[in-house]
């Protein structure tokens, strides 16, 4: 739309008779620069930036408060607010007690890993296979099955707790890690299949056809052609599921025994059974927060790319 505008300016310039090459060139360049500036200003209005920064600060203050508190001595925490203790004194006593004191978080931290990793890998593996079938294998009732599968997403998982518990008791795996892995995998699958299916559908069909003509069967198409292209989607869902499972309390609380509790349940007990000791709670919260933070910051570019992928051409 703006291109003809440039053209016409140039023409006018020439018609004036004063349009030597240099001036015309400069005119064109300045127009382009103008356009890029206007685009830049539209994207970075100072008001929008100010609001964004304000929101960021407001949302970070509680976390900072928690962080400062967790390093303060117990007595200080009880006596005054965290903002008075910004200059110290600091101690790591809270962390030591929370980690390795009686009922410390150490073993539960490990439990959380033991729960989370399979609970991420199992649904991704199954969802990849299912998404491939839904996207590229033409079978009867495919669309119906796909809709039915995704419709499960609207069922609140609380509805399934009692029947699942009964089933696990019947199978004799109640209270083991298996019950948590299976539960998380089941609850994560509809979204995983849906996301990966949509992502696979965005891959040009000609690519799969080219691979078929090149002699590849389903297995080779899946592993050598599609899988490398799906890495952003897998990473995005992986992070999503990791954060969800790591922060989950309900499933962990319902299906685990004392020995297989995840850290979230342990922290809840820290607050519940020793109501007064919330100096330990702050440290415990940070111990459990550190893993999601590391995961998110190290993989966030995949996360963003995965969420955007498909919506943007190219």
């Amino acid at each position: 739309m703006s291109y003809p505008a440039i053209e016409s300016t140039t023409l006018v310039e020439t018609a004036d008779g004063g349009g030597d090459e240099r001036r015309r060139g400069r005119l064109r360049r300045s127009k382009i620069a103008e356009r890029s500036e206007s685009a830049a200003s539209r994207l970075s209005s100072p008001w929008a930036s100010a609001v964004a920064i304000l929101v960021a600060i407001l949302w970070t203050i509680p976390s900072v408060g928690l962080l400062v508190t967790s390093f303060r001595p117990e007595l200080d925490i009880r006596r005054s607010g965290w903002w008075t203790g910004l200059t110290g004194p600091f101690t790591v006593q809270n962390y030591e007690t929370a980690w390795s004191g009686s009922g410390g978080l150490g073993p539960f931290f490990v439990n959380s890993f033991v729960i989370t990793l399979p609970a991420v890998l199992i649904p991704i593996t199954i969802a990849l296979l299912a998404a491939y079938a839904f996207a590229w294998i033409d079978f009867k009732g495919r669309n119906f099955l796909f809709v039915a599968m995704f419709a499960l997403q609207v069922v609140p998982l609380q509805v399934a707790l009692v029947p699942l518990l009964k089933a696990y008791v019947d199978m004799g795996i109640n209270g083991t890690f298996w019950s948590v892995w299976i539960s998380h995998a089941m609850f994560g699958l509809p979204l995983a299949i849906f996301l990966l299916h949509n992502f696979m559908k965005d891959i040009p069909p000609a690519l799969v056809e080219a691979a078929r003509v090149d002699g590849a069967g389903h297995v080779k198409i899946f592993f050598q052609v599609l899988l490398p292209l799906l890495v952003p989607a897998i990473a995005a869902f992986g992070i999503f599921q990791f954060l969800w499972v790591w922060n989950d309390l309900l499933v962990g609380l319902t299906f685990t025994d004392t020995g297989s509790r995840p850290i979230t349940v342990a922290i809840a007990e820290l607050a519940g059974s020793r109501g007064g000791q919330w100096h330990l709670l702050t440290a415990g919260a940070f111990i459990s927060m550190i893993v999601p933070l590391v995961v998110f910051f190290s993989l966030q570019r995949y996360f963003v790319r995965g969420l955007l992928a498909g919506s943007v051409k190219g």
């Binding site: 690519l207 056809e209 080219a210 078929r212 003509v213 090149d214 002699g215 052609v225």
Partner: protein, 375 residues
């Protein structure tokens, strides 16, 4: 190397009653370059994909060589295909793209490397072997897609509009490259395009399809000289042929002031169903400027002159005062006539020129069936 045979091959898409490809019968000789051409939706791509095994064949058979491949998986057909959008694997380097099929076939690394390098040399891609497709230009990507097919050394090349994503200049250049490459390799090739110029310039033979039905197969010369029906006549040739519906009167085709003589054979072939009418076609380049009153000459009112340097085309209509102007059409649209004239002597806009059809370059078609009538 092998022949390709379509034997009554039919494809009906699910949910549709009309076949997309209707009882296609086509024999392609060993080493031949056959071009499937037609307007969009005519079933040419579907025919190609049936040969590739990417579409089911609902009835009939397809043979490669003597082997019935109707129900054979694409990977077992020993064919290579070049796609319209190239379908290069974006995560692989050019060398890996080209060697992918060999790798799947379980060839040794050294053999793959050797064959890829050989193909790269032919296509002038040697320096790009380690690049990813996204770092290549459109023309280079197209060559990689070609290379992927060449490396296979397949029985048949299938090409689905491989040039349509290139700009006009590169398209002409690549066109000749592909044609000469095919001659050199001698591999049977089926090539799909909607561009009749591409078809005429590249193909040993051309097959014109319309609405899933094969209209005519022949060499470019045959297609141009003796189109079997009105559709082929209008489709092959650029600018398109002028075709008009004329009344038959006293052994002549008459439309307004245009009176064109018809031979006895032509008249004998006209049936009652034609209702005293006949379709007469003449190419823009088959018209000579002549003078008023000379035999078979008719006046054309000049609306527009297109000068191309080597040629000039007059776009006009059958001169006014004639009720029949609306009954004649050409590639330029309804009630239009195109005439090729000497580019050094172009007529004025708005003037009238008298033209006559050069002897033997007139095409007669039945008014009822559209089939060709003898001259």
């Amino acid at each position: 190397m092998a022949t390709v045979t379509y034997d009554n091959a039919t494809r009906i898409y699910p949910g549709s009653t009309r076949p997309s490809v209707d009882q296609l019968n086509l024999e392609i000789a060993d080493g031949e370059f056959l071009v499937l051409v037609g307007p969009s939706g005519c079933g040419k791509s579907t025919s190609l994909r049936m040969l590739a095994g990417l579409e089911d064949v609902n009835s009939g058979r397809i043979l490669i060589g003597d082997r019935d491949v109707t129900d054979v998986q694409p990977k077992d057909r020993d064919i290579a295909m070049v796609f319209q959008n190239y379908a290069l694997y974006p995560h692989m380097s050019v060398a890996d793209n080209m060697g992918f099929a060999l790798k799947i076939a379980g060839k040794s690394k050294s053999e793959i490397r050797e064959r890829v390098e050989e193909a790269a040399k032919i296509l002038d891609l040697t320096q790009y072997l380690d690049r990813k497709p996204k770092a290549l230009s459109g023309g280079q990507r197209q060559r990689v897609a070609m290379g992927r097919a060449i490396v296979r050394q397949p029985q048949v090349f299938l090409m689905d509009e491989p040039l349509s994503n290139l700009d006009a200049k590169l398209r002409v250049q690549t066109r000749t490259q592909i044609a000469s490459l095919q001659r050199r390799l001698g591999v049977t090739t089926v090539y799909v395009t909607h561009d009749q110029t591409e078809a005429l310039t590249m193909g040993d033979r051309i097959a014109v399809l319309k609405d899933g039905l094969l209209q005519q197969v022949g060499t470019p010369r045959e297609m141009y000289d003796t189109p079997q029906n009105v559709f082929v006549a209008g489709f092959i040739g650029s600018p398109a042929m002028n075709i008009g519906e004329f009344n038959i009167q006293d052994g002549h085709a008459q439309l307004g002031r245009a009176i064109i003589p018809l031979s006895r054979e032509t008249l004998a072939a006209v049936t009652d169903a034609d209702n005293g009418k006949i379709q007469v076609g003449f190419r823009p380049e088959s018209l000579d400027l002549s003078s008023e009153g000379s035999g078979g000459a008719f006046p054309v009112e000049v609306n527009l002159v297109e000068e191309l340097g080597s040629d000039a085309f007059v776009y006009g209509q059958l001169a006014a005062g004639t009720e029949g102007a609306a009954h004649i059409s050409s590639g330029a649209g309804e009630s239009q006539i195109i005439v090729r004239v000497d580019p050094r002597q172009v007529p004025e806009k708005g003037s009238h020129v008298w033209v006559s059809i050069r002897a033997g370059e007139q095409h007669n078609f039945s008014a009822s069936t559209g089939e060709r009538l003898p001259n």
